[in-house]
């Protein structure tokens, strides 16, 4: 394979502590190498530009059945919003808040991203998830099956059978070719089967009689028992409601006393996702206020927790989550169309379009809360950029989010458009924060940090020799940063170069190649467990509508796998 030399760029690599040094990056056979190992490389001139590892997204809904429901039931999301086919891309691109698989891959690549973790895979529908992964070009994908409302999990954890739950988890990760343990509104989505919810972490789940708190702790224990690359990945109970920050703090406290056990360099035991939706004070929509300070004070003081933002981008978008009761609640608020699904024994899901308007006070408060979380963070290796795509906004708005984080002027500019500016300022801290994040901190939040939290920082998120040759070059000069924030946004929206696996994939913001993408999954060896084998057999015999033989993913669904092996058998 060819050799590449990315010359003279300002390199930001938090995994190696490189803070904008002028360096050359050598690439050979799809891997980063010492420049001395190159013989006759092609050269990319990155002088006056910012060089980072390819971006890593820890939480995004890009593939699978609920994403596809979003595509199907929102034809208006495509009308007049789909670009003409780019002459340099092999496929058409469609959609805006829920883009087609092809547009998803292209747009992530144009922003310099190479790895995207699908945030919620319904285990029963894993073939669909993997088929869409195959059809999403360029970017490597992993997908986390949801466990927080799974009947097996609820039964094992109620009886405190961590070892059995671990054996089941290992089986399900293999059956679905999944990456890690996702937990969505633990207990609440199962309660939704009874038309109920678990709003607080001590509300018992109907029939199963286990609390969300017990589910969360049990899944942390399971995760560390297995030593998975990623930690338990939590969407807390009581999402999106005024006053929910107390429930969030209680959920965060559940991680106390647990330490990570893994061989992947991961340092947290709990990743709390789209924290913005979980940091509200007040007791009604009339007096809702930001509690980001309380939340981040706790997160800053506890380094076994990582978080991502879930930043509201003030767009028309499509919400979709395995938090079924929440989507029902949302449709009652905005009276728009609603899709609702039960996935037998495992989970639920809902989809509702939503407009985050700068004219609506709650929306502009939400906008402030998300940014505050990042700006109050003392450790940006534990605080990541997401929009919980597409829930708080489409991922294509990351460049705007980065710009808001890097520029007080950009925030002020946006705030000028708020109808309820005074009320927003009163109810949040955003106006009192002058902090502007640096390019190094952005590199922490968008590649190094997420890669480390996912336990894949030996492959992705950095530029050390031996790692995948995924390199993004942005047309931004750190020594001469533009005074106009719009220029920062433009630079992050369309990278000058993206090299993926050593292949020049994007040039001047346009896709020029579509290198093979991969599916990353975690294969865990556990001791034989006859009890769990029998439980699986029994549940499929009695409760599932599919046969066990037809449940596990067939090999032909799995596209270009990259297996991370974990041995939990000793």
């Amino acid at each position: 394979m060819s050799e590449l030399l990315i010359k003279n760029g300002f390199v930001f690599d938090p995994l190696q502590g490189i803070k904008g040094d002028r360096m050359d990056i050598g690439i050979k056979d799809g891997k980063i190498v010492e420049t001395s190992a190159l013989e006759n490389p092609k050269t990319i001139d990155a002088a006056g530009m910012t060089v980072m590892a390819g971006g890593v997204d820890i939480h995004s809904h890009v593939v699978g059945p609920k994403v596809n429901i979003g595509r199907l039931f929102r034809p208006e999301d495509k009308l007049f919003k789909s670009p003409h086919k780019s002459p340099t891309c092999s496929r058409m691109e469609m959609g805006s808040s829920v883009p087609s698989t092809f547009k998803t891959g292209y747009d992530y690549a144009r922003m310099g991203y190479v790895f995207v973790n699908e945030a919620a895979m319904p285990p029963l529908h894993s073939p669909h998830v993997h088929e869409e992964i195959r059809d999403t070009p360029i970017i490597d994908n992993a997908a986390m099956p949801v466990f927080g409302n799974n009947w097996f999990t609820l039964e094992y954890l109620k009886n405190n059978e961590i070892e059995n739950n671990a054996a089941y988890t290992a089986w399900l990760l293999r059956a679905t070719r999944g990456f890690g343990i996702k937990v969505v509104n633990p207990g609440g989505s199962e309660a939704w089967g009874w038309g109920l919810n678990c709003v607080h972490i001590h509300d018992p789940v109907p029939y199963f009689d286990i609390t969300p708190a017990r589910i969360i702790k049990g899944l942390i224990e399971t995760n560390e028992h297995l030593g998975l690359p990623h930690s338990m990945h939590l969407h807390c109970n009581n999402l999106g409601n005024p006053g929910n920050y107390t429930d969030t703090l209680e959920s965060l406290r559940l991680a106390e006393g647990y330490t990570p056990k893994n061989n992947f360099g991961r340092e947290q035991v709990m990743h709390v996702t789209h924290l913005q939706f979980h940091a509200y004070g007040g007791d009604s929509w009339g007096n809702v206020e930001s509690r980001s300070k309380d939340i981040m004070d706790y997160v800053n003081a506890h380094d076994n927790i990582t978080v991502d933002m879930g930043q509201v981008t003030l767009d028309e978008t499509t919400t979709m989550t395995a938090d079924g009761p929440f989507e029902h609640h949302l449709r009652a608020l905005n009276n728009l169309k609603w899709a609702n699904v039960d996935v037998e024994l495992e989970t639920a899901a809902g989809v509702v379009p939503y407009i985050y308007s700068p004219k609506v006070k709650v929306c502009t408060i939400q906008w402030a809360v998300g940014l505050e979380l990042a700006l109050f963070s003392k450790d940006l290796m534990r605080t990541f950029v997401t929009t919980d795509h597409p829930n708080a906004g489409p991922f294509t708005r990351y460049p705007q989010v980065i710009t808001w984080l890097m520029s007080r002027a950009a925030r002020d500019e946006t705030m000028k458009t708020f109808k309820w500016l005074d009320r927003t300022i009163e109810s949040t801290s955003i106006d009192s924060i002058d902090r502007e994040l640096t390019l190094y901190e952005i590199a922490q939040m968008t590649r190094a940090g997420p890669a480390k939290a996912l336990g894949i920082s030996n492959i992705y998120g950095g530029l050390a020799p031996g790692m995948d040759a995924d390199v993004a070059v942005y047309p931004l000069n750190p020594e001469d940063m533009p005074s106009d924030p719009a220029a920062i946004e433009k630079a992050f929206a369309r990278c000058a170069w993206l090299v993926k696996d050593g292949v020049v994939t994007v040039k001047d913001g346009e896709i020029v190649a579509e290198p093979a993408k991969r599916t990353i999954w975690v294969d865990v060896k556990v001791p034989d467990n006859a009890q769990v084998q029998r439980d699986i057999y029994e549940h499929f015999l009695r409760h599932y509508s599919v046969k066990l033989d037809n449940y596990s993913l067939f090999e032909e669904h799995l596209h270009n796998p990259r297996v991370i092996e974990v041995n939990a058998a000793q």
Binding site: F73, R74, P75, E76, D77, L79, P353
Partner: protein
């Protein structure tokens, strides 16, 4: 709006369909906005799509006359059989289009201003997503007249659609504002999910009139073959509609749907049937 003053300075572009397409022709470039400021020869080079193939407008039409300086100064006359030409006047903001005969689907779709006069019939989706302006059809129209585009909950916002003949089903779905006047009959589904605006049917309506309607008005001069149970008669009123005053039975509904409260009073959709 600005008609009387502008008409004097209007320039006319006449398109004559001399070489009809084999497939349906996608004519969204035929708008005063696209023709304004262009000479006849330039207009003939505008793109139209036939299936997946793009060709110049001049391949199908002979073009006579230049566009005006602005869209408002431009009048387009279409001659020949345009029964298979779609999307004429789509997204137009001003000016005038006169179609001498029939036209296909999506005539005046998403129009914001100006006027379209079709002297024959149109197919489905005329005036969908309309925000303003005037669309006059002398003949009949098929389905989805003045409806919202598929999936869209923000339907017709303003403007006037007048169909002298009859219309198909799904008229005015999700209507939010503006007026639709049908001279003849309407098939099923009128103003479904409506949240404003006015629909007048001077003939009969088959049924499902005002289903899931939240706000807005419907007038039916003839009979409703299958009225919905979600509408309740509340009295008789005299109303002026389209320049004439008449006595109507007044129903409110759809009682199965949510209804906003304004100044302490619940707002319903109104259905008036002529007595």
């Amino acid at each position: 709006m600005q008609h009387n003053e502008v008409i004097r300075s209007m320039k006319t572009v006449t398109l004559t369909l001399t070489n009809p397409s084999e497939l349906l022709l996608e004519g969204q470039s035929i708008t005063p906005d696209n023709f304004a400021g262009k000479k006849a020869a330039e207009i003939a080079t505008l793109d139209v799509w036939e299936g997946k193939q793009k060709g110049p407008l001049g391949k199908y039409f002979t073009v006579a006359g230049d566009g005006g300086a602005t869209a408002a100064d431009t009048r387009i006359i279409l001659r020949g059989d345009c029964t298979r030409v779609k999307r004429i006047g789509q997204q137009m903001t001003a000016g005038e289009i006169i179609i001498e005969g029939n036209a296909d689907m999506y005539i005046g779709g998403w129009m914001k201003g100006g006027k379209i006069h079709v002297k024959g019939n149109v197919d489905s989706f005329c005036g969908i997503g309309m925000e303003g302006g005037e669309l006059i059809v002398d003949g009949n129209a098929k389905h989805h007249v003045g409806a919202s585009p598929r999936g869209e909950w923000r339907g017709m916002k303003g403007g006037l659609i007048r169909v002298a003949g009859s219309v198909g089903n799904d008229t005015a779905t999700f209507i939010n504002g503006g007026t639709i006047i049908i001279g003849g009959d309407a098939d099923i589904h009128v103003s479904t999910h409506g949240e404003g605006g006015t629909v007048v049917i001077k003939g009969d309506a088959r049924g499902r009139v005002g289903g899931q309607m939240v706000k807005g008005d419907i007038y039916v001069y003839g009979t409703i073959e299958n009225p919905l149970p979600g509408f309740k008669m509340v009295g008789e009123v005299e109303q002026e509609v389209d320049g004439e005053t008449a006595l109507f039975a007044h129903y409110i509904g759809d009682l199965g749907e949510r209804h906003p409260i304004s100044r302490g009073k619940t707002v319903y959709a109104n259905l008036y049937t002529r007595i």
